[in-house]
Amino acid sequence: MRKFVLRYLIPRIIQYLTLIFVGITLTYIIPRLAPTNPVEAQVSMMIARGSSLDPDAIEAMRAALTELYGLSGSPVEQYFAFWSRLFRGDLGPSLGNFPTPVSEMIGQALPYTLRLLIPALIISWIFGNFFGALSSYYPENKALNVVEVLGQVVRSIPYYIVAIVLLVVFSYFIPIFPFSGAYPIGTRPDWSSLDFILTYLEHSVLPAATLILVGFGGWFVGMKSLTSNIISEDYVVYAEIVGLKKRNILVQYIMRTAMLPQLTALAMSLGTVFSGALIMEVVFGYPGVGSLAIRAVYSNDYSMIMGITIYSIIGVATAVFLIDLLYPLFDPRVRYQ
């Protein structure tokens, strides 16, 4: 057990922490390099919006905002202040929607993203792996080959294009799905009402489909190549010579072992999938973190962008970490080392 902790646990914990540290530091530095600062963004936006303010007024407001946004002090000071706030779980106020805390706004949007992302991820993972294994086990099966080619294509096509194509086809040319949002204009989210949940699902079909389609291809291909290696493994050949039922072999001998690397891959893919989800939300006008992020970018809302990136880094890192921890349960070889 001690060995397990030393050899397995410790390195992964270190990994986990580095991941978070590097990621968060990056997200802190990059926006600060930007040519403009949010105070200007605000002031100039008000002027562009035609509010009549006289010169001194603007000067005064500028000072006030800088103070309020906690942008006074040297970058280094700000950096440490930033970490200490972070440990208190405080991501600061959204600069674009001052003074609402970033965490509050993300808290509002995150559930929508997750409710979409997680099921889509799981579905695509399961189906992708299942059919991937099938197609390498029955290489002569025409249908599966077609699926593979499709998977290959879709997988490589950018999320945006898949999304826009689905949108155009299924809510414009063949209007069977709603055009945007997570529920109709005028309705208020009410998770106790079945009607609402139904329209909510209806609105989520295309966004989910986007994620699933793209994901499916990836898993399919990954699984196929994995399996085609495993098939030539002695114990599989043996199982066949022994005359075990094909289903038994496929499930217990092939899939079961191939799943393990795919599990790690799942963790690894989270970052990318998340980015994909962002784009998808923008296309479908889905009220999730993605829409929030784009908004923030357009209004130079650092703290919001940082907040989102930090959330996603911690989220992804934690997911990876958990999967790593669970891994031994699935793979005895790791368990008994």
């Binding site: 040519p35 945006y160 989270l270 996603s312």
Partner: protein, 258 residues
Amino acid sequence: MIFLSYDSPYDPSKSFVVPWDLPPSWEHPFGTTSRGQDLFWWLTFAVRNSLYVGVVTAIISRVISILVGLTAGYRGGWIDRVLMAISDTFVVLPLLPILILLSFLLRESMNLLNLAIILGLFGWSFDARLIRSQVLSLRERSFTRTAVYSGTNSFWITIHEHLPFVLPIVFATTLNNLLWSMGMEVTLSVLGLSDLSTPTLGTALFWANQHGALVAGVWWWITAPALVTAVLFLGLYLLFTSINEYIDPRTRLRLIGG
């Protein structure tokens, strides 16, 4: 198509060289845009530029991933752990927000080349991992051991004994990396965050959106780039898989059942 771009009758940087909003015809196979450009010829440049991004990214990230992968895999120990920690960080880092920020930061200097370089700097990690694992398995092969016993130095081993076996993987991953970076280009451009005056598959869609091509009934302005992208990606995929099967010793062995 790429090569066609070199004898394009139109300069892609010019607008209103042909009548606008013409549906596809023999004269204009993909129709013309609301900016008075021949979409087909314009896309020939787009494909070329997108590929350019893809290739540059691929090259840069290949170099990094091979170096990191080989070193990590061969040296092992703490070097390995550190390198892998870093690369894993890059793997799971949600890139999009960061890229968006970067493109804001670089503004007009965010041209194709810089974009490609940035993508290259971000896109190496996953493949580095693959290469490393391959090297690890190679290290167990006897010939390495004998080489080690016979006192040949590590660098020599790495280059002469591992690289040949690693190359097939590198090649295979190149495709994914290529497509990935081209995809990223599309994403950023669509958000209006890349060099919009250069024709790429992404900017094609961006300008189409800016001209409301969809509702204006100029559907070909959306359809054509999307199709070309799909076809291009499929084409690349087929090309690479066939080449890969050809150069990869393992697949070759399997095929001739040695």
